[in-house]
Amino acid sequence: MVVSKLVKITSHEAENQLELSLRQAFEVLEPKLRPPFSLTIPNPQEYSQLNRAILYGVLSQPHLAKTHIKHLHAIVTDGYALFLSLLVNVVNELYSKLFDSAKNQLLWVTKEMIAVLGVGFDSLLVCLLRQIVGGDFSDWNLWLCFEMVNIFLDKWDCLLEEEPLVLTSALYSFLRLLADHCRLSSPDKLDSLKTMEIEFCVKMLREQFHLCLKVGRDLIRLLQDLAYVPKFRAIWKDLVLNPSEFSTARFCDISQLYRSRTSSRYFLLRITPEMETQLRFVLTHVKFGGQKRYQVWFAKKFLLLPERETLIVDIVRFICCAHHPSNEIIQSDIIPRWAVIGWLLKSCRKNYVEANVKLALFYDWLFFDERVDNIMNIEPAMLLMVCSIPRYIDMTHTLLEFLFLLVENYDVDHNDIIVKGVSSAFTILVQKGVVHSMNILTCCAALSPFLKDKLHRLLSGSNLGVSKESQTTHLRPCAISLSFPDISCLGTPTPSPER
């Protein structure tokens, strides 16, 4: 059996087709991969094979990598487009199986591709960001974080000039990863990494705020998880009190961010391709009632370690905002999104994670505006509340209670926006027939009268536009200390050294 120098293959594991195609090209062309290089111009077929062979050489022969890359520079005729698309496939399909030395080479060749501005190097960076696993404190995962943040700091000027949006993607990733990294109680091995991640994020927020705005409202959700870190606390203060600090004429109030829906590509950043494949498979192929084994396998693979729990927040955001089933699936016997989210919510062990998961589930409700928002993002929470009534009324209670907690406390200075957002969310869910009528909640015998009362008040306000009550809240002087979205009442994050 031929041994791969690229990926770890265990006994009884079939060969990977991508790895095989690279290896075969390398084996055939190996004699031609050393100087003097042929001067003849390869035909398209030969060009493609040569790209594959060189890629295999770069990744598997560290000592010859410089020669291989020179060879590539000499033959390239497509702006490195093919080479980069092969690299993207290697990252998506093989990354977790790569030998350590091949991972090192992969990061080395990535920097080479940035240096020559190869066509599609930004996609490669995004794919690599996706391979950083949230809540994973293993050495190789932290190594990848370090390498990536290093690239973004090191190549800052070049990236800003050529592909500024990749910096925005990096910001989303590192803000989210920092929330995990700052929470870990034994920060020794993380210290220098955290410093760099903070440096990068702060640089983005302070110097390129117009790029940060592109993230949309989830930027606030992520920042609020870091509000206890001094450098981010200072940024918070300015966001709320001195929006003009952010060298962007366009920004004058935090509500601008609230009103901008976050694009689904950001949610994909925190889900590895493997997780994405499995989640999408469940939501398109597995029948409702037959999901149990898949849930066990998924949890065992991705959620088993206690620190991994925060990943559930990203998964819920992904399911609400980045996986929208077709009508055909919705009408079939396939497990619906709300049921998967119900399971994920039940898997939370820590209170603050559970609170963050609920926030993720309701986040688009708070600022819902028919003109920019998608009903599919708010549908799972509604169905989870309604479908839980017959057998899991506790779930309905917990969710509704949480929603009202958000309406009343999330951001008291923008309470008008939130009241309007949540009541519009309910209104459109009824209008579009996700539920036939609000009676299913307001007339539900099992639901606590207290919550029904609150619901009545909220919905009556919705017909009158902004209610009187919320106007007074809005007009209240905000001189009272510092007020920003606060969910501390909902769950206490683990103390951090910085606290």
Binding site: H12, T277, Q278, V286, K287, W297
Partner: protein, 139 residues
């Protein structure tokens, strides 16, 4: 040629090529004091069956693995009707997770008798159990 699990029939032949997902795995035991062996529940979209793993196969696979069997055999060993690679066959992992399955019928839980019209062939006589009795479905 690839066959579906529902179409396999007990026979003393190493000619079954098929693909399935591993749902559950039993404890590894020593057979004859030398070889490790273990039973597993595997299934595809139409049927399930018990798979016998041998030697290092026992540790090479886990629940959720999608497995390709080449030149396998479906026959009785030690009074259990199982699918296995045998000495001439091969099993390898080709993927994970993304395959649907059913847990009934389970071909190992069916009583097979020689075909009255063709004594070389076996036909189903009765269902002993709809689901695996060794690996009951998850609640």
């Amino acid at each position: 040629m690839m066959v579906s699990l529902k179409d396999i029939v007990p026979a003393a032949q190493n000619n079954i090529n098929t693909q399935f997902i591993l749902l559950d795995k039993g404890r590894t035991a020593m057979e004859g004091g030398q070889n490790k062996t273990c039973l597993a529940l595997v299934a595809d979209e139409k049927a399930a069956v018990h798979l016998q793993l041998w030697g290092d196969e026992c540790d090479a696979f886990e629940a959720g693995d999608i497995i390709r069997l080449t030149n396998g055999i479906f026959s009785s060993t030690r009074s259990q009707l199982v699918l296995r690679a045998g000495k001439r066959g091969k099993i390898e992992k080709v993927g994970e997770f993304t395959m649907t399955f059913v847990e009934t019928p389970n071909l190992s839980e069916i009583r097979w008798v020689p075909d009255p019209n063709n004594s070389n062939k076996y036909v189903q006589e009765a269902v002993i159990s709809t689901h695996s009795r060794l690996f009951p479905p998850m609640p």
